[in-house]
Structure formats: C-alpha cells, structure tokens
Amino acid sequence: MDVARGTFEVVNRLGLHARAATKLVTLAAKFSCEIMIERDGQQANCKSVMGVLLMVGSKGTKLAIEARGDGAEEAVRQIGELFASRFGESE
C-alpha cells in the first residue's frame, strides 16, 4: 500500500480557520486514500472539518499529514501546495 508523509507549516495570518479547513478537507476528500492530520500526538481525520479545526492550527503551527492508499503521494504533494499558497488567502 502506498504511504506518504509530509510536515507543513501554517503560514497564513488567520491560521487554519473554517474556510481554510474547508479547502483542505475538500481537497483531501478528492482522494480515495485515508489521510490523517496530526499535531503534537493528537490525530484527526483530514476529511473532517471539525477534526481539522480542532488541531487549532494557528500561524506557525507545524502539522503532519499522513496518507495511506491510492494516490497517497499525490495527495500529500497537493496538500503541501495548499499550505504554501496560504489556502488562497492574501496574507
């Protein structure tokens, strides 16, 4: 089974709030593989908005993504890009 991991930093000013989390979850949901998000040992399903919000991803937080299954590598790559693009926000 494909397994891929990546650790990404929240760089947008407002952090991983509801709209940003929506984008992350919508992206994750496009992949059939299982995707988890983790912070300081606390884990959540990356396809759950509430789970993602509960990571309390303020600016500067580092979050670990782990994907298992079909398209795992591509999923982690695209998620990394989304973090880097500040979830489409201007600051």
Partner: protein, 605 residues
C-alpha cells in the same frame, strides 16, 4: 446564528439611557410595558433522556435524518446566494455544510448514543459543546471565536430533528414578561400563556403571518418585523410595546410609561364595554342581520370564540394536527379533536378546512420537494389529492364528527373545477366507508370552496354550481393576485385588501353566490378590520369570519352603520381605480363615527 448576533452586537450596541423608538408592523392590538425575555428557540430545551439499548440504532437514524434536513436547508441558502456578491457568506456556508455532515462529529455523537445511551439531541449537544470547548482552550483567540461556528452548526442540526417536542421550546417565565425572538413558530406561539406573556416582539413576520394571527387569537399584543431589535436588547431590559401602531420603545422614559398606561386603561374600558354587548346579535343600524363567526387554529380557541359572541366557527384550520410531529394524526385522533370543537359550538355551525400544509407552514409528516416556491407548490388540496390515502383519513374523521353538530367542510387552494370534483368523489367514498364501519354521521355534510386563488374567483359561478358554499380567503387572494409574498416586509404596502383588483374579485364571487343561491363569506384578515368589514357588508356579504378578538369591534362597527350607507359607499369606491384612494374614501366616510374602535390605541387624544 450565534456568530451573527455577536458581530452585530459589537458594532451597534451603545449602552445609553435615551429612549430608542423602533418601527415594526402591528401584529396584534394592545399595549404592554415590562421586562424583555430574549428567546433563542434553538438553544433552549435540548431534550435529555436516556434511550434503551435496543433503540440506539433508531437514535442514530434520527440523527442522520436531522443532518440531512439541516444540510439540505443550508444548500438551499447557498444556491440562492450563488452568483451574488456574497462570496464570503457563500464560502462560510460551504464550511457549515461540511461541518453538519462531518464524520468526526458523527463519530462522537454515535459514541454518546451507543456507550452513554443518550438520545440523539443530547448526544449532539454534548459532542458540539466539547468540541467548542477544545477550540476555546486551544490558545488561539481567532480560532477560539470559531467555536461559535460549531454551536451554529449544532443549532442547525438540533432544529432539524423531526417531531421536536414543542413544550420544551420556551423558557419558564418567572414574572410577566415581553417575549422577544427572531421568529416564533405557530406551535411556540400557541404554547404561550396570556397570564405570563405581556406581549410578543419578533424580528421576522408580517400581519398575516402565523405569529401575528395567533397572537390576536390569544389576545396578546404583538409587534412583528422589528428589524435589528435582538442586537439592541438583552433579557431584563424594560420596553414598551404598542401593538396598535407597530412600535417598540427601548429604555422608555417615565413620561412614555405614564402615557402608555393611560392609553392601555382607555383601551381596556372599550374592550370591556364591547364584551358586555357580546350576547347581542350582530346587525346593521337598520336591523339587517349579519352573521359573525370566529376563525380558530387550536381546538381550545373554539371556546374563546364562542365566549366572544361568535355565531359559530367560520374557519377551523385543521393543519395544526399535522405540524411539529413526526407521525400523521390517526382518523381516531382527528375524530376526537373535531368532535370536541363541535360539542363546544353546540348548535352553531363549524366550518372545518381540510389541511392546508405547505406554503409557509411546515409539516414534518410530509416530505415536500425542496425545489419549489412553496406558496405556488404542492400544498393544501394539491397535496391532499397527491396523497389520497392521507386526505381520505381526514375526510372520514370529519364525516364521523358530523354526528355531533353542524359540520361543514371547506377545501382550500382550489384552482380548478376538476380539483373540487375530485374532492367531492373522495368525500363520497369516505362517507360510504364511515357507513360501512357502522359509525354515526349527519345526513348531509356540506362541501364548500375556499376562494383564495384568483382563478377560482374568476370561475366562481362554475364553482357555485357544484359547491354548497363559498368562502373568500383574502390573505392568499391578495398574495396571489398582486404577486406579493405575504411574509415580505418591503412589499407589505402592496398587500392591501382595498386594492381595486381584490374588491372586484370579491364582488364577482358575491354575485356568483347570489345567482346560484349559495352562501358566500369572507374568512380572511380583511373581515376583522372594522372599516373593511363595513365595506364588505355594503358589497353584499352577510357572513364574516375573523379572529375571536375582533368580533366585538366588528359587531359594534356594523351596528353604527345603516345598510344603505354601506351600500352607497361600496358603489362609490368600486368606481375608484386606486387602492389608497379607496381606503381614504372609506376612512373619510366611516372613521369619524368608528374612531373609538379604530383609535383605541391612538395616542393623539
């Protein structure tokens, strides 16, 4: 809605002692002074009870159903604002939809249901609250604020459970208070007690909305459509409510309070005076008898209407049996309810309207397609004919109840003759079934048409040939003729019963009834306005039906006018082409002599 209120509060509230006058729409006459109780009907009264082990799957199913309803509602709003400038709102709605359907939330809810044996509402409330708490404890002030989003989502799901028990919706009041809410459902309004509720104020609604109609029936002063009041007021704040003029005063001065008290006493004296005359039959000054009947929504209102001197029930809205519950009322339950109303009415006639569900009334028993304009969609007789088994059950219950008094059946929303014939056939079959089951019934159950769709008014002569009676529902007739949503505040100016188009339609229906020898009545809000009632008598009507609280005033108004005067005025205004001019002409002729009835709430004197 939580988030919105918090945001509104932060930029509009400026605590000050200056009185603030807010304009709304008069919902129910009367004056009140007292402390406010702000009601957020979504957050109060979350049911908390344990479920049996074998029932946990059913609780989960209930949860999934509520999620589906809540998500559908949000998607509708989202669709509506798509393509508008509200991009930020659209994306937050996307987030809400995902949160409503969230797997992690469902996982927590399932755990509370399966392991703690909590009912679905309790499980949801607990899950949402613990998630919101985690977010608040996270240490990021911006994200901590988002805990309101969780609560909002929880409220949406909570409000979507089928068969939500209504008794839990309102808080217990410790002293007589003024209820202030965004909106109240008919069931919530109906559950209010006159002794403890001084008045109602809502942000939503119009005069013909159900909150207002029920408030009038319960004789609770009400002002509806008061924009932004919730962001300016908290529980315990004193306010003055003027249900005659549709005004609310926050932070009233001592002078305003004294003046209001004086007006309230004056009004009370008039009401008492009218009440003493309640046993006098209604007639014009010259002695022409006019039949005044009451409109009711709840069986308990029948006694109120009869107590006001009503000559029967002109409109019993039976859909109350269907709303706010998960199952359908059985034939037996309906029979028992209708029978009670007939027994209260004694030898006075009672007109039962078959269910008018759809439109602005939501019934959880029926799944109505979400993609329709509800007012123009599958409602009332259309819904009944689409579900003949449910409709027939109601008709059988009515036929059986006919054994206990003078029962008539009225069919709402008839648009074509074909629909009326179909109902006639169903009624004939229901009658045969009742006979076959060996139940008693009246020899004859008159079947009439509620004329509220313009097409029905235009073919009134055809309908009168086959119907036992016609009754004009002015609220919907106005809504459909002038293409104006009856809950729209901006368009309230269009919704006038004095509009020439409405008067001409009514004139046509009256003529059709006369030609065919069928009784015609008016059972809309128009009949409860003393001026409009005088005009209707002048146009030839001899039967009016209205909320119980208006009967005394209308009776007194009619008694002060001769038939010749009313007929003269009707002839004159039917020549006019403008609604405002018509209203002015009627006012100029009759208002001086009815001023105490019209201006009981005026502060000019």
């Amino acid at each position: 809605m939580k988030t919105e209120e918090v945001e509104e509060k932060s930029d509009t509230t400026s605590p000050s002692d200056e009185p603030v006058h807010l304009e709304g729409i008069p919902g129910s006459p009367g004056l009140a002074i007292g402390p406010a109780v702000v009601v957020d009907v979504r957050r109060v009264g979350v049911p908390r009870h344990h479920v049996k082990k074998h029932a946990v799957d059913r609780e989960l199913q209930r949860y999934d159903q509520a999620v589906e309803v809540a998500a559908r509602g949000l998607r509708e709003v989202s669709e509506r604002i798509k393509g508008t400038a509200a991009r930020a709102e659209a994306s937050i709605l996307e987030a809400y939809i995902l949160m409503v359907e969230d797997e992690a939330l469902r996982g927590d809810v399932e755990r509370h249901i399966r392991l703690d044996l909590q009912c679905a509402e309790w499980a949801l409330d607990g899950a949402v609250e613990s998630m919101a708490q985690q977010l608040r404890d996270g240490g990021d002030p911006y994200l901590a604020e988002r805990s309101h989003d969780f609560e909002f989502v929880g409220d949406r799901i909570l409000g979507s459970f089928l068969g939500r028990p209504k008794a839990l919706s309102l808080p217990a009041l410790e002293e007589p208070s003024i209820i202030v809410a965004k909106d109240l459902s008919p069931a919530e309004t109906a559950g209010l007690s006159r002794d403890f509720v001084l008045a109602l104020v809502t942000e939503m609604g119009t005069r013909t909305a159900h909150t207002a109609i029920l408030a009038r029936a319960l004789e609770i002063p009400a002002v509806v459509g008061v924009r932004g009041i919730l962001s300016r007021l908290g529980s315990g704040d004193r306010l003055v409510v003027d249900g005659f003029r549709g005004r609310v005063v926050l932070n009233p001065t001592q002078k305003i309070i004294e003046k209001t008290t004086e007006r309230a006493e004056k009004h009370l004296a008039i009401v008492r005076g009218l009440h003493e005359l309640k046993d006098r039959p209604a007639a014009t000054k010259c002695g022409e008898p006019i039949i005044l009947r009451g409109n009711i929504e709840l069986p308990a209102e029948a006694a109120i209407a009869i107590g006001e001197g009503s000559a029967g029930i002109g409109l019993y809205r039976t859909e109350f049996l269907y709303v706010d519950r998960a199952d359908l009322p059985s034939e037996e339950e309906q029979y028992a309810t209708y029978r009670k109303v007939l027994e209260v009415a004694g030898d006075r006639p009672v007109v039962l309207r078959t269910f008018d569900i759809g439109g602005d009334k939501f019934a959880s028993s029926f799944q109505v397609p979400p993609d329709m304009n509800p007012a123009l969609g599958l409602r009332a007789v259309r819904l009944g004919l689409a579900h003949p088994e449910i409709f027939s059950e109601q008709l059988r219950a009515m036929v059986r109840a006919s054994a206990h008094g003078h029962l008539r059946i009225m069919v709402p929303m008839i648009a074509q003759l074909r629909e009326f014939r179909a109902v006639k056939e169903l009624l004939a079959r229901a009658t045969r079934d009742v006979d076959a089951a060996g139940h008693a019934r009246a020899a004859e159950v008159p079947l009439g048409v509620m004329v509220e769709v313009p097409s029905a008014a235009m073919i009134a002569d055809e309908l009168a040939r086959e119907a036992a009676f016609l009754s004009i529902g002015t609220n919907d007739l106005i809504q459909y003729s002038l293409a104006v949503d009856r809950t729209s505040r901006e368009l309230a100016y269009l919704a006038s019963p004095f509009d020439p188009a409405i008067l001409r339609l009514i004139r046509g229906v009256i003529k059709a009834g006369k030609d065919r020898g069928r009784p015609v009545s008016v059972c809309g809000a128009m009949a409860s306005d003393p001026l409009a009632a005088v005009l209707l008598v002048g146009m030839g009507l001899r039967e009016l039906s209205m909320e119980a609280s208006a009967i005394g005033e209308v009776k007194e108004a009619i008694a002060r006018v001769t038939l010749a005067e009313a007929e003269g005025a009707a002839l004159e205004v039917l020549e006019l082409a403008d609604g405002a001019e018509i209203e002015q002409a009627v006012t100029a002729q009759f208002a001086p002599r009815l001023s105490d009835l019209l201006d009981a709430g005026s502060d000019d004197s």
